[in-house]
């Protein structure tokens, strides 16, 4: 019997929620760490003087709101990039990967099942960042930019998912030491614009930053939520993310299928 997609997705969601909430202390500590992080950046923002204002003026001039959006939404790139590979790795280590692949579930459903909890979790974490930032520390965001923010959010996930498939393919083949995730994560820290505007980078680094999805994702998010940008106004960022999606998603899918076939050929699916 071929299971229907909603049933499969619900089963994954339920499984992940049960597992996550079985580690109650870790869950509580993660919430506390979000709150501490918000407080930390609130006080760091107080040190950012008027000299920084020109670079921040494109985003409303408030460093706290700027960095809060950066750290909150950078988690979505992390989900897109790491969700498939980390879940695969966990299934390898717990020994459940073969049992999953023996079930009559298509690969897209399986991968979606892996990612959906992480997406929901990142969303609730982002909401917590923004809620704490606004309610406790007085940051302000523009609800008028929500449609544009949603578009950027969706395209961030799809563009990073393509890279995530490459990352998952490496995990299937080499089990550990995934160079794609390492490279993109390291480059994003410096070039993605999480902590400072990309505009302050030298020209050559600024050019390099255009090849990272997070640069466009954070730019679009900030324009939407700090400057009330419309969907049309974030079209350049949306187009860049759509291009990443169009290139990396199909390539990543092909690469992942080939890696899976190779693991089946080597008999190494259950290895870790």
């Amino acid at each position: 019997m071929i299971p229907r997609l909603p049933r499969v997705l619900y089963a994954f969601l339920r499984r992940d929620a049960l597992q996550k909430f079985s580690y109650r202390t870790a869950f509580v500590l993660e919430v506390v760490s979000v709150l501490l992080s918000v407080a930390t950046f609130y006080y760091v923002a107080k040190l950012i003087g008027p000299a920084a204002l020109p670079a921040l003026s494109a985003y409303g001039g408030d460093y706290f709101a700027f960095v809060l959006l950066g750290i909150a939404f950078s988690s979505y790139q992390s989900v897109g990039m790491h969700s498939f590979s980390e879940n695969l790795r966990e299934e390898q280590v717990t020994g459940t990967l073969e049992s999953l692949l023996a079930a009559p579930v298509g690969l897209p459903a399986l991968l979606l099942g892996f990612a959906q909890w992480d997406i929901l979790y990142a969303t609730s974490q982002t909401a917590l960042y923004l809620l704490a930032g606004t309610a406790v520390f007085g940051a302000s965001f523009h609800a008028a930019g929500l449609p544009a923010a949603l578009l950027i959010f969706a395209l961030t996930l799809t563009s990073c998912a393509g890279l995530g498939l490459f990352s998952a393919a490496f995990i299937l083949m080499f089990k550990r030491g995934d160079p794609v995730a390492w490279l993109v994560a390291a480059a994003s820290e410096l070039l993605g614009g999480v902590y400072f505007p990309v505009a302050i980078l030298p020209d050559w680094l600024r050019t390099l930053s255009l090849f990272i999805p997070m640069t466009h994702s954070l730019e679009g998010m900030r324009l939407a939520l700090l400057k009330s940008a419309s969907v049309r106004e974030v079209a350049p960022q949306a187009a860049a993310l759509a291009l990443f999606t169009a290139v990396f998603l199909p390539l990543g899918a092909v690469f992942f299928r080939k890696a899976l076939a190779r693991a089946k050929k080597d008999g190494s699916l259950g290895h870790y």
Partner: protein, 231 residues
């Protein structure tokens, strides 16, 4: 004769180790095939190829679907979930809803003595309880092809007997169904299998009904037949 399972020159090599070497056999439905052979003879590789988890290097395997597979390893469930939660998850991946699962578990609960493992966290279950849960998962969706990799290796004699009876009742003589059961226990294979395949170093050393194998080997006991046919 209608053929349910057909292996045609199936071969598999892992680096320099030949796991299966041109294995061919055909079986009609309603049979319970016991795979017997020493460690490394290719039993698990054959089951994994049929489960779609390993690709053969050459040859062909055709088998009925859906498949239920119980791997020999203990680690194939989520440690922090209960046995029931684990089965709920894997049942959903096989298209079973809560009502169907409940009904099926009623049928499997007693023969597999699942009561304790369903309620307890998987990581707290004993090796035998874990194996029973694995067999239950393989049987949940009434697969047409059942693949059990050494299902009785960590079970007490009474549990072994109950599981043999259950699989025999659900598969032996049933049209459109077929079961493969790997074991090191010769008495088990001769008592349970409608056919037995003796594997040695990846080759099919002998294949036939238990009586055939005794007759061909000229031995009086399964152990004697095994020694003569496999060596």
């Amino acid at each position: 004769m209608a053929v349910a399972l057909e292996l045609d020159e199936l071969s598999k090599k892992f680096r320099s180790v030949r796991a299966l070497d041109r294995v061919s056999l055909a079986l009609p439905p309603g049979r319970l095939l016991c795979l017997v052979g020493p460690n490394g003879s290719g039993k698990t590789t054959l089951l994994k190829i049929l489960a779609g988890l390993v690709l053969p290097d050459s040859g062909r395997a055709s088998a009925p679907e859906p498949i239920g597979f119980s791997p020999g390893e203990e680690r194939s469930f989520y440690a922090r979930l209960s046995g029931l939660e684990n089965l709920r998850f894997f049942a959903a991946l096989r298209g079973l809803g809560a009502v169907e699962l409940e009904a099926r578990l009623e049928e499997l609960k007693n023969p597999l003595a699942l009561e304790d493992v369903l309620a307890s966290t998987y990581q707290k279950a004993s090796a035998g309880m874990k194996m029973k849960l694995s067999i239950a998962r393989a049987l949940l969706h009434r697969p047409r092809l059942l693949l059990l990799d050494e299902p009785t290796k960590s079970l007490d004699p009474d549990s072994c007997e109950r599981i043999r009876a259950l699989v025999k009742a659900e598969y032996s003589g049933k049209p459109e169904r077929l079961a493969l059961w790997s074991t090191h226990r010769l008495e088990e294979a001769w008592g349970l299998g409608t056919e037995i395949a003796l594997l040695s170093k990846g080759r099919l050393a002998a294949f036939g009904t238990p009586e055939d194998l005794l007759r061909r080997s000229g031995a009086d006991t399964p152990a004697g037949a095994y020694r003569r046919l496999v060596s």
